[in-house]
Amino acid sequence: MSDIIRRDPRAEWIARNRLHPLHAEMAAPAAETRGPSGLIRKNPHAVGFIGPNGIKRIDRSGGSGAAVGIRRGARSAQQVELPLHTVENPDYYVVAVLDMVGGRLTSHDKDVLGQAHKLIRGGDGSGAVLAVVFGEHKEEAFDKAGVDRLLHLTGSEFDGYCPEQKVACLAEVEKQYQPRYWLFPDSINGGNELGCRLAARLGERPATQAWQVDRDTSVCRGGGGLSDITRDTPRLLLLAEECADPIDETRHQVLALELDRKPRIINRLQDCGQVAVDPNSVSLAEAEFILSAGNGIHDWDQFHQAAEALGATEGASRVAVDDGFMPRFRQVGATGTWVTARVYVAVGISGAVQHMQGIGQCDKVVAINTDAGCDMVKRADLSIIGDSQKVLAQLIELARDYREGGAENAA
């Protein structure tokens, strides 16, 4: 790898993309927000950008820098307007019930919408994709994702976890619109559950984990992922991720539809809210972000601080455990826990086979190590060659800045 620091095209892209979940942190305007008292506040941490040499810069001229700060008007001028796909008086509907994690379309949702259009395209009559969205949302690009009709169901009854209420509404949709297909993302974010509940309610036999679907046949993953089941396409489908390409060349009408009768039922499942779970009490096997310590840690207080500041679950190599610095249930590896974290940061861990066995399923591995030749560095997606103590100190600071900044932004 070269040592040249490049501009971070991704950060710039996020700053440009208003819909990106991280947009708020990246975009310069976030530096000024209206506080609770109504006064304009400046968030000093959100000001500026990382310059080409990696140093934070504040551009007071308000113009240059990365794409940050370029106004929308200027950008939309460059953008090509996508053709509008219209459906008047549809003969039938294909309903897609969307996850909307964090109030926005997920990529899985977009795949499902893409699949919906695939089922309509080239078929008889004119079909419209009817997206069902529960509760408040922040999405502004339904049009570009392929939503012809939108049934937006809001109200306090959709707050929290209320699958029974939602299914009752979907049953109403069934009555009122008699969709040709019901599509759900087969996800743990609600899609799978709603789909299965509705299927049981309607007496439909759904296709689950369907990943290749046309109007005639569907291919579904079965047998715990070991087999493919080819079957006639049913009316109700739970779709796997990347089942179809998302819509990206057309805009859609997003005409609002209503439900004539909104059922209101008594939930038998009473949502008592999310239980606060401290990242360090999350079991290692379930943790998504692990900061793991080895023989190369010399300041253990600092390590714990870092884990706390970053909100990471702590892990350890066997040596760290043997030496009594970490409890045994934190050990990662052959004789410890096999972890599945999305990000695994190995600080001062050399990468013995027995340790590597435990992190085989991790998505991204980051190594902090003084020895550029050690096996952990060979495995890592990102390696920092340097003293753990110094790097952790900087990380703690970055994390604290980020949190304070975040808190102020939220205010």
């Binding site: 040596v319 043997d322 045994r328 052959a334 004789t335 050399s350 013995a352 086979v353 027995q354 066995q357």
Partner: protein, 648 residues
């Protein structure tokens, strides 16, 4: 004179009491399960087993061996003569003088025992054992004095009643300890139980220079699998426990004990004695299990051992290295007992600690301990062009690859060995995906059901093909195939790769050049050395490479385990140190830069020690590096093979 009538009475009553004690003790042993023995043959062989086999072990400690010969010989002789002279009253100088001589002999022995006991090493038990030398002295002196009149040295009635009383007290003490105590549980119990233990040993093959190390199979249809209560042991195992002299030789050798894991083989055997007789360990006078206080263990013949008597962690700490068995002068079988109790925990309780349960599940579902796809067993050899038995059906040598096939480090050993086989033009083949885990780990973790299932399937596969011998780089598979498959109808000639390579070198089929590099030491794998007696081939092979070994203090039959056997790395019972760290310390003490081993498990364990440390290499790797390519015989082929190795 008082003694004239008192002595025969005392003798008679003590002998009667001893007899009652013996019957009681025997009935305790008989609470155990039946185990067929050759009753008369065993009794007949007993003296020889004592004098030759047991002595052979005791002789490793010259001091103790001479002491014991003097004391025990003197005592046995004295007792016989005492009965003749003082009980039956046979008045003959031909008996009295020998009795004087034997008591002197015993006295001499006893003084040496006394000297050793003055500052006993920690492995020795204290308590009643500290009394024993005094009892020995009292016994020998008393009977010496008592016999003087009979020998005509002193007049009858010499010394008056004071001396008579003192002597009477001495007789009571001496006989009490030496005869009564023998069957009622004193230190002398070892003589009584030990003699019978030698006669009815469960592994008679061990006598006369033989070896018997394979575990015995579990009857899977039994109502209880494994040993739950002391009475679930075979009766002669119980007898064996009773023979322990608490010499602590086992304790001194045990790697788990040294690592501060909660295991002490001597204490374990004593706990078994508590179990068979009932009681607590409050009076145990030796070292406790590290980290576990004395006084809390309670047991009885019919109470569950692991609930109150022995903590399961104690059983799971054992690496099954057999150092204790090798060292035990009473030839007690610790490993059998430990695995028997583990069997109950695994097969009946489902309580295998650490990664044990997962490993067993994997073995059941995938035939390998880490749950890899069974069809990927041959992936390591994709570039090796190996012949597979299912295609060739027949070969001179069946190369048993073992689960090292799934491990990158072990694959280097496998490739090195293949390189040597090819260089020597050995006609060999592998089982490929038809091979399964040998069952070693499952068996040591107590899961004999899984072991038997693996063994039977492996045997069924091997019986389909024709081969003369099996060669393997894994001493665990070596042991299991060689010694434990017999019970299931698999009788093979199995060689360890070091033996086989050594043969090739001796036959001139491969030539090894000199090894370049610093000092080398050799670590004897337990399952190669103590289990199978192969100490020489690896050493010969190393010296054929011009290596002058710097032997570790503990090598050969005294080699210290790497910590990798018996599923110990899987159950991973915490201690104060790692066994592997201690072993690397041993190696460092020789100044070695390289530790040669003959086992992939040892390699993994020793390489698991934090650097800097000596390099670890299997002998196959060293030999492959030192291989002098024979250019006269089939140069083309060798070159191609070498290329393949490089690519790998």
């Amino acid at each position: 004179m008082i003694l004239d009538w008192l002595l025969p009475v005392l003798l008679l009553s003590v002998l009667a009491l001893a007899l009652i004690g013996a019957i009681r003790r025997i009935s305790l042993w008989r609470a155990g399960q039946p185990s067929p023995v050759d009753f008369f043959g065993g009794l007949k062989a007993m003296p020889r087993r004592y004098l030759v086999d047991l002595h052979h072990v005791v002789e490793r400690d010259k001091y103790m061996s001479n002491t014991h010969v003097a004391t025990a010989g003197g005592f046995v002789l004295s007792l016989v003569l005492i009965i003749l002279v003082h009980l039956f009253g046979i008045e003959s100088k031909w008996l009295a003088w020998p009795l004087l001589a034997s008591s002197v002999l015993m006295f001499v022995g006893a003084t040496f025992v006394y000297k050793r006991r003055k500052n006993p090493p920690s492995r020795l038990s204290k308590g009643p054992w500290m009394r024993l030398p005094k009892s020995l002295l009292v016994f020998s002196v008393t009977f010496f004095l008592v016999t003087l009149p009979a020998a005509g040295v002193l007049p009858q009635g010499f010394g008056g009643w004071v001396l008579a009383l003192i002597l009477a007290a001495g007789v009571v003490w001496g006989l009490g300890e030496m005869v009564f105590g023998m069957t009622w549980g004193g230190p002398m119990k070892h003589a009584f139980a030990g003699a019978l233990h030698l006669a009815f040993h469960r592994r008679p093959e061990r006598f006369g220079g033989g070896r018997s190390t394979g575990l015995k199979p579990v009857d899977l249809d039994a109502p209880v699998l494994g040993v739950q209560k002391p009475s679930d042991f075979k009766w002669n195992q119980l007898l064996g426990f009773d023979a322990c002299v608490q010499c602590g030789k086992c304790e001194a050798m045990c790697p788990a004990f040294a690592a501060g894991q909660p295991l002490n083989p001597k204490k374990l055997i004593q706990d078994m004695v508590i179990g068979l007789a009932g009681g607590t360990d409050a009076k145990f006078a030796g070292s406790p299990y590290p980290g576990i206080e004395l006084g809390n263990a309670k047991g009885g013949p019919d109470s569950t051992i692991t609930e109150g008597l022995v903590n399961p962690d104690t059983l799971w700490s054992c690496t099954t290295c057999r150092a204790c068995v090798e060292e035990c002068p009473m030839m007690i079988e610790h490993v059998d007992a430990i695995v028997d109790m583990r069997r109950f925990l695994t097969l009946e309780k489902g309580n295998t600690p650490g990664k044990g349960a997962e490993t067993l599940d994997n073995l059941i579902a995938t035939d390998n301990p880490n749950g890899y796809e069974p069809g990927s067993r041959m992936n390591w050899a994709a570039d090796q062009n190996l012949r597979v038995m299912s295609e060739v059906k027949e070969a001179d040598v069946l190369f048993w690859v073992s689960d090292g096939a799934f491990d990158m480090r072990s694959q280097r050993i496998l490739r090195s060995f293949v390189k040597l086989l090819k260089a020597a033009n050995v006609d060999f083949a592998v089982l490929g995906d038809e091979e399964r885990d040998s069952g070693d780990v499952a068996r040591r973790l107590g899961d004999d059901a899984t072991f038997q299932s693996l063994a039977k399937r492996n045997i069924a596969v091997m019986n389909k093909y024709r081969f003369k011998r099996i060669v393997t780089t894994d001493p665990h598979a070596f042991h299991v195939l060689k010694n434990e498959y017999k019970d299931f109808g698999g009788d093979y000639e199995v060689l360890h790769h070091t033996t086989f390579i050594n043969e090739l070198v001796k036959d001139g089929r491969i030539k090894l050049g000199g090894h370049k590099g610093g000092t080398v030491t050799y670590h004897d794998p337990c399952y190669l050395g103590r289990y199978n007696g192969e100490y020489d081939s690896p050493r010969e092979l190393l010296s054929a490479m011009g290596i002058q070994l710097a032997e570790m203090e503990r090598s050969g039959f005294r080699s210290r385990c790497c910590g990798g056997g018996g599923g110990a790395p899987i159950t991973d019972i915490p201690g104060e140190r790692r066994i592997a760290d201690m072993r690397i310390e041993d190696a460092r003490a020789t100044g070695a830069e390289l530790v040669a081993v003959g086992c992939q498990q040892c390699t993994a364990m020793l390489e698991g020690v934090v650097e800097p440390r000596p390099e670890i290499k299997d002998i196959a790797e060293l030999a492959a590096d030192a291989l002098v390519e024979a250019d006269d015989s089939q140069p083309a082929r060798t070159r191609r093979d070498e290329l393949a190795v490089e690519v790998a």
